[in-house]
């Protein structure tokens, strides 16, 4: 009971802090944080698949990129209203996940990772060879942002779009936290730990893995559209396997299975990346080093720092029962 309230308090506190950003920082930082929130949300969603269900994917950018492409093509080729195009893009991406899930969830571990890499590369290949329809290598620039029809809330301004992204992030995070805390979320942990036992207790393991896959894809799709509107552009880079790797590493560095860890790492990596690519071209090396550091020094990721601190504090008052994942300690 207390743990549920704790999640909601963290969410509320985080939201309040993030609300202040445009007042304290200029447009540069507000814009940077908008993109950081977008990547944070994707990583959090991916954690449902990687951390909870134990299925590491190296093709998650596909769902992120395709929804952006879907929205852009809807607006530019079919003259759809931007809201309708956004919805179309998201539904297109989720539909693809639902269709591909039955095949994907037959794979385990490395096989799953590899088939997702292949899936992502196929999407990337189609986008780069799609000619005028997808814009090929150049992608599709000039995507207009939608309007809320409110004079005081203009999505075309940096602050306005930041707040819109923040609202979406809070809503998606809240839904993901509730799912993670539910009986369904617990069953995903069970599948990660012991699939056979779950089957012999009556759980439909394949269906639940497919559901986790689609939920992660859904979160990726929502933020993919936001990213397309924010940048006014989609290109093959949004489908690139390197972006998939960045999402997966966000989950690992943040602490798989903790939700908020991947959120912090997903956003943090983008900020660090922006800073470092401004100084040097060796960002992939830095990312690799960060990953090695996380795996060697902090195997539970950023999230385990809290557990470590709590255990240290409790050491005098009793045995430590904390675990690296927030959910498993309930």
């Amino acid at each position: 009971m207390r743990s549920v309230l704790r999640d909601e308090r963290i969410l509320l506190a985080g939201t309040l802090v993030l609300c202040v950003v445009p007042f304290v920082f200029g447009n540069y930082w507000t814009g940077l944080l908008t993109q950081a929130l977008i990547f944070a949300g994707v990583a959090m969603g991916l954690d449902i698949l990687v951390g909870f269900t134990g299925m590491p994917s190296l093709g998650h950018a596909a769902f992120f990129g395709l929804s952006g492409y879907g929205a852009a093509i809807g607006i530019q080729r079919y003259d759809l209203n931007p809201w309708l195009a956004a919805l179309t893009g998201i539904l297109f991406s989720i539909a693809l996940a639902v269709l591909f899930a039955p095949l994907a969830v037959r794979m385990r571990g490395l096989a799953f990772l590899t088939i997702m890499l292949a899936f992502g590369q196929v999407c990337w290949g189609i986008a780069t060879r799609g000619g005028d329809f997808t814009g090929g290598e150049n992608g599709l620039p000039g995507i207009p942002r939608p309007s809320l029809g409110l004079g005081w809330w203009d999505l075309k301004t940096t602050d306005g779009f930041y707040y819109f992204t923040l609202v979406c992030t809070v809503l998606v995070s809240f839904v993901l936290v509730r799912i993670a805390r539910s009986a369904f979320g617990a069953s995903l942990l069970g599948i990660r730990e012991n699939e056979t036992r779950m089957m012999t207790m009556g759980y439909h393991v394949a269906a639940r893995r497919a559901a986790a896959f689609s939920i992660a894809a859904g979160a990726g799709a929502i933020f993919g559209v936001l990213s397309a509107f924010f940048n006014g552009y989609v290109g093959p880079g949004t489908l690139d396997w390197r972006l998939s790797a960045q999402f997966l590493l966000s989950v690992v560095i943040g602490g798989a299975g903790s939700l908020w860890g991947p959120f912090v790492a997903g956003g943090g990596l983008h900020i660090v990346k922006t800073y470092i690519t401004g100084q040097t071209q060796y960002w992939p090396m830095v990312l690799g080093a960060l990953y090695v550091f996380a795996v060697v020094v902090l195997p539970g990721g950023i999230a385990s720092l809290i557990t470590l601190a709590r255990n240290r504090r409790n050491r005098s008052s009793g045995p430590a029962t904390g675990s690296t994942t927030a959910v498993s300690s309930k």
Binding site: T196, T200, M201
Partner: protein, 249 residues
């Protein structure tokens, strides 16, 4: 005997792994509420038989019926929903979850709330009460908040049984429940099986002959995947072939 309803029927069951015949024409008729023992040396096909009954392998031929319904082609989860539960010879738990979390995974399924995706699982009153009651019943309530990984082996074996019972089964398969337990723990476990409700059908694979003759009323002996004897436990105990093959006398 003929008046007693049958809980489980296995007919002409044959299981092959590549060229190896793991089970050959095995027949079992297990009456409702009986305590049925499966005896046999290592590699005789006992666990393979349990895997077939619970739906974890695909038999080459033969049929398996649960409460009179043919389940040969039904997946493990469907059989579980029909009241079948099992434990594993090699402890099979959720190591990073708590003891309560492990048992709740089973009670949520029994309570029909395992698919709920919005309500926090730790607020699902009925499933949590059931999990707590099950832990108390097995006298491991004090371990409820411990991580499974941190438990002793004997405690894990108890939890293994708690999880199978928590699905509220009608047919329970116990695969070597006393494997690796101390004498005192074995006695406690035997006592526990005695307290099971009368209407629960129990099949036990066991190497401890004391345990098996004490608990079971019917017995089937396997050797190299073939049934060499089957009948009332008291009778099997005196069977000369069984004595020679298994008891080594």
């Amino acid at each position: 005997m003929s008046a007693t309803p049958v809980a489980l029927t296995v007919q002409k069951l044959t299981v092959r792994f590549g060229g190896i015949v793991a089970l050959s024409d095995v027949d079992l008729t297990v009456a409702k509420g009986s305590r049925y023992g499966i005896l046999g040396p290592n590699g005789s096909g006992k666990t393979t038989l349990f895997n077939s009954i619970s739906g974890l392998n695909t038999p080459a031929s033969g049929t398996i019926a649960l409460h009179g319904t043919d389940v040969t082609n039904r997946p493990a989860r469907a059989r579980a929903k029909m009241g079948l539960a099992r434990t594993f010879q090699i402890t099979s738990l959720f190591p990073s979850l708590t003891v309560r979390g492990n048992v709740a995974m089973a009670t949520r399924m029994a309570d029909g709330v395992a698919g709920s995706w919005w309500k926090p699982a730790d607020l699902q009153i009925s499933a949590n009460d059931d999990a707590g009651a099950m832990l108390e019943q097995l006298r491991i309530g004090h371990l409820a908040n411990r991580t499974v990984r941190s438990l002793g082996y004997g405690e894990q074996r108890q939890l293994e049984i708690a999880m199978a019972l928590a699905t509220r089964p009608s047919v329970l398969l116990l695969d070597e429940p006393t494997a690796g337990l101390s004498n005192a723990e074995t006695v406690a476990l035997t006592e526990l099986v005695r307290t099971f409700p009368k209407e629960l059908t129990v099949l036990i694979i066991e190497h401890d002959l004391g345990v098996i003759f004490e608990l079971t009323d019917q017995l089937t002996v396997l050797q190299n995947g073939v049934m060499i004897a089957s009948g009332p436990s008291a009778q099997i105990r005196e069977d000369p072939i069984v004595k020679e093959v298994y008891l080594g006398r």
